[in-house]
Symmetry: D3
Subunit: 271 residues, 6 copies
């Protein structure tokens, strides 16, 4: 669906430059990574560049890596032979998916690497780019991360604004436990250790530690470790994530994985 | 359409945390920029947060800036009062658009600032994120940039792969001039000054100087200034764009505007 | 969306019998319940029968009850005056929604009444009619029931077929706890008390007691009451639900609410 | 289309319980009828459970009956071997179609059986469930019934409300004969024998006898048998349908076939 | 829907010539008929050119005629004042509808005029332009014609190819009378008077006289006038239609109304 | 997409006359041109009449011509053998496309023939039938014509109304050159030679000569031949096009190609 939308954005009613190339021209090409990283989007590129059913016999496509593989700059990730006009029509769309999703996967992998040896898992957030949520969350998994809830509908998270509107955390938790789906755990955002203590008393299942200091996070984990799960959030960067992981939290959520990942560059070259 | 898609990704069949907040609660909120930059996406945020037709009388929405305005960290860009459940349902989607589009506009504005005093205009490319092309190109305009073609259908650009497949630049240009729409100019990518010279002889209208050195670009502009338009591309960064502009090119196209812009952070807070 | 689909099914390119009635005819009508029950679907009927913006001044619509209200046979639930051709075009679709959804709500209310005085709540299942899930689950709520998960995506339930394929309940639970969303509780289906005991040991949060005898259910609740939630399922009828509720289970799920509810009859009469 | 909608309702962005089962697990299953009845929906179940193009070699699907076949409780209607995760993802949707459509077909077959030996055919009505009209009408045919008009657009039926608004049956018939499509017959609803007499005089082609007594129906048929077709409607049940058929009417329409059919139970079991 | 499609075809991602006109320019315009004819499409033009909700106060739209009115060349049919860019964006689409639909209505009116004083009504056919059937049939009504069936689904017509495949007209009629909807009349195509005679014997309701001579048509009408309706078809032109009408047929169907109507020219001029 | 829409218009929920023909009947058919012309739409007819994957072995389809071929009345363009019910269901839709598109191609070919020996190419316009633009423009190419811009989005054309609203041609051109895409040429409509002279001075690339006399067109071409391209428009007919071509213009645009082409008749006959 999104692939069709993206193709449509680029092709519209047809490629006006196609006439530069003979109708029967076929070209051998390679897609090359131009930086080190983790690949994501090979399946979409395959979809877009696979020869059609009535293709000539010498057309083919071959992938050299699969989603989640680590590559070095200069690696060929995909190669093939295709009708040139078809190739030039779909190339940009394929590269746009590959570059963005590999960018997300690669950034995730950097965060995951920094937390090695701890139990902390790297989570994504709902801060995704419009229309790309499912694919970005897939890219996070390819990078070694774990998905948080998909949206408002499949997970409970009481945030500071909920608490304000409910007139207190206890009220918010109580209201939810009576009405929300019994199949879901209850997560609440806390900004102080005292709040954490009260939240545990109110019977929540997961606590999000928002913008706490390392010391506060350690204290929070200390009092709740056996009763709830802990998620750290806010102020997470490649510089701080390792220390946050060492506080003993179960999860660290990182918004920039999906809202600010630079693309991983790829290039399609005719040989 | 994309707004509906993005809302759907987030809300699905409904917000399960809504029960934390009384049904009749209303909240006053402000959206605050958390970094300096150029705003884009206010119209979409308005769409998502405007009180519905049957809203209570004390609900409202007020925007403090319009798309294209420069803001400082700490500025309020939008404020209002809304049913709390409605607010919490649409907040994230509104912020996701605002943060991404403002990120694109702000990065564009940085490039534009670096070229002040030259005639060079900053162009976007087809390296956009899937599904977001029209909005990203709008954000580029808000940041002071100019749009290149929307896609393959509304502009002619003969690239290196076309030339390879056509058996030479001259063949590619000739084929196109006979068959492509007479309403469009012909642009070709060149990597050497000699190619530029031959392209002008073949009657093209615009030349894309791809990955050339400053010296080569100056030479190219020197021989073609009165006959064609020049666009520089490749290796453009905030460090190099100013020097590139001084070579006399008419346009500088920058892929990272749309494929690698970090988001501009915004926060919605209940007061 | 579904309302448009349903209208389209009925109207197609237009009502060929409309010519029987003068173009400028207007009629006063009443919709009357023809049996006792709980109403659901008034909002959809309003949507379909509200006079359009450019209607004549003597047109109106007035609802006498809201969704969830109990009515007796002979009660008027909605009345109005409308262009006759418009009325005859939308009448059947409005009644089809009203009759089916009120049927679901009324059947739910009968189950809820039978469990009064116990803590057991009546749940729906995924055995819904194609395309009608969200509306049927809304009707269950109108009848006093509580919704189980919306679908496969927002709740975990390990059933007998999962256990068979996983090679045992313990394996299934273990695999899920490592990979499923941390925001969701884990529910498992058990058919014997011994299975219940082992499931509690494996750390599940909810146990579905499938087709157990009253005695077995009491035993299961006895050993797990303080550690997990219990849902009873299978063989539930209006005759048995009261006894099942008295075993101490937290929830009783009833597939027939949504797959076999007879419609509650309504009639639209011109006066 | 509806199959996709129904799948989407159930699966959303993915089955979160799938992790309970190994990715490479395959299962042999059988779908078993749990009550006697007429099957409808096998084709949809096949669509949903057929192994995909790139399936492993030991996967298969085999149907034991076709739509319209009568089965006994305990009969296997479909069996196969499939990737377990795929099977668990599509199972519920397949069963939901099969159970509802077989319910409609089975109820129809009961009515048809009661009219054996008469010329009366069992008709459905426009009292269908939203979004399901075409499928329900197909199920009626599988059960041995005959379809009435699909909707307002492909058949003429002047009902009591039309007559009231037109100022009389004669006026309604006259207006229609001048303006309605010449390719359609004109049917009118009558509640007394006197009305039937006048309707025949006005030149109608079909008469719907609404809520008449057996005696009245016989009288009506007596005076119109050679001139028009007769359809009986209202108060039709499995207890009364046989007597109604014996009055000599050509058709008996039964709303409950589509608005109140209980599902025919089926079960999918891994072996 | 079709209006949106047509607008989308023309506007795509935006009008690139709009910059020729100041953003705040407003223009007074008139749409003028450039030939005599019957107007159809005023409603669509209104839809496309009505000022938006937030329009300036001096914007307006005024229609001078309604669909079905006859106009002379030079007549103004619509006038208004609108934002110039908006006007230029929607103008062509509005005129394209108006010109085509008025062309169909005008051609229909010419045929209708030629049959004045006879009982013959002018019918359209299924020979419509793809996607335009409903609108073209509306235009036929505006021109004074009458619609034949909308498509294959709402009317029965046994054509020569049916007869060949069925092994004879009698077989085709018999099969249909047992299985087709009882609400529809049965029409059959005949090419000889002998066929007409046999068709009446077989119990059909309507006979299509295909490509018969005037004499044959008169004979056919002579033998069937009191028993069936007659439709003439084939070889109908403005030269022959009057004589055909005088044979006594009830309907004359004309394919060129919808497959070959020249547009009625209109012009939008700024004053 | 449009093919599906057109099929849907015709078939709706099913062909009610299909029962006239045995379910297992297969027929051999031929599609025959009934007039001389240029064929367009063979690909769509193939799509609609090709036997399905599970067709019987004796079914086939064979095309005798391809789009753009010239045929004489009586030529067979397509023949095949197909399930009769399938054939009768899709026949009309296939013929409707074939007749209209071949009508457009044939009319175009007549214009092209009249300009043989000149450099003038025949262009289409934006005066297309709603929903049919892409297909009609394809038909124009099949007839030997050349496409003008697809819509407002991919070509610049300053018309008389733009000039009025801009306050003069010079203002309009200037505004556009600063803001419109640099990849597009600028075309302007002129009605006098003096306007042509000024437009060339303003730096436009293409001039549309609107409703000029032969003499004026020659004069215009005389002064601009080496600097701009010329397009003639207005008052073009099969009688005048040859003389217009001889004035030396590069293009002649003809609205009637797409808004007033009569269909080329085809017939499908069972043999």
């Amino acid at each position: 669906m999104l692939v069709d939308t993206a193709l449509g954005e680029d092709i519209g009613h047809g490629d006006v430059t196609r006439f530069a190339v003979p109708d029967d021209s076929r070209s051998y090409y390679e897609i090359e990574a131009q930086a080190d990283g983790v690949v994501c989007g090979i399946g979409i590129a395959l979809d877009l560049l696979t020869p059609l059913g009535d293709a000539e016999e010498d057309e083919f496509i071959e992938y050299k890596v699969v989603d989640g593989d680590t590559v070095l700059a200069g690696s060929i990730v995909l190669a093939g032979r295709l009708q040139t006009r078809e190739l030039l029509r779909n190339e940009r769309t394929a590269l746009n998916f590959l570059m963005h999703l590999s960018g997300v996967a690669s950034l995730t992998a950097q965060y995951v690497a920094k937390t090695e040896g701890t139990k902390a898992k790297i989570l994504d957030t709902r801060k995704t780019l419009p229309g790309l949520r499912a694919l970005q969350k897939y890219a996070v998994r390819c990078g070694g991360g774990v998905n948080h809830r998909m949206g408002l509908f499949d997970g409970i998270l009481i945030k500071d604004n909920h608490v304000k509107a409910a007139g207190g955390a206890a009220q918010a938790v109580k209201a939810l436990k009576g009405q929300a789906p019994h199949t879901m755990r209850v997560e609440i955002e806390c900004t102080t250790v005292a709040q954490v203590d009260r939240a545990i008393g109110a019977g929540v299942d997961i606590i999000l530690l928002d913008n706490m200091s390392m010391g506060e996070m350690k204290d929070a984990v200390g009092i709740g470790r056996t009763k709830v799960l802990f998620e750290a959030s806010g102020g997470v960067s490649l510089d701080t994530v390792s220390d946050i992981a060492k506080t003993g939290v179960d999860f660290i959520s990182v918004g920039s994985l999906t809202h600010s990942a630079a693309s991983l560059p790829f290039h399609l070259e005719f040989r």
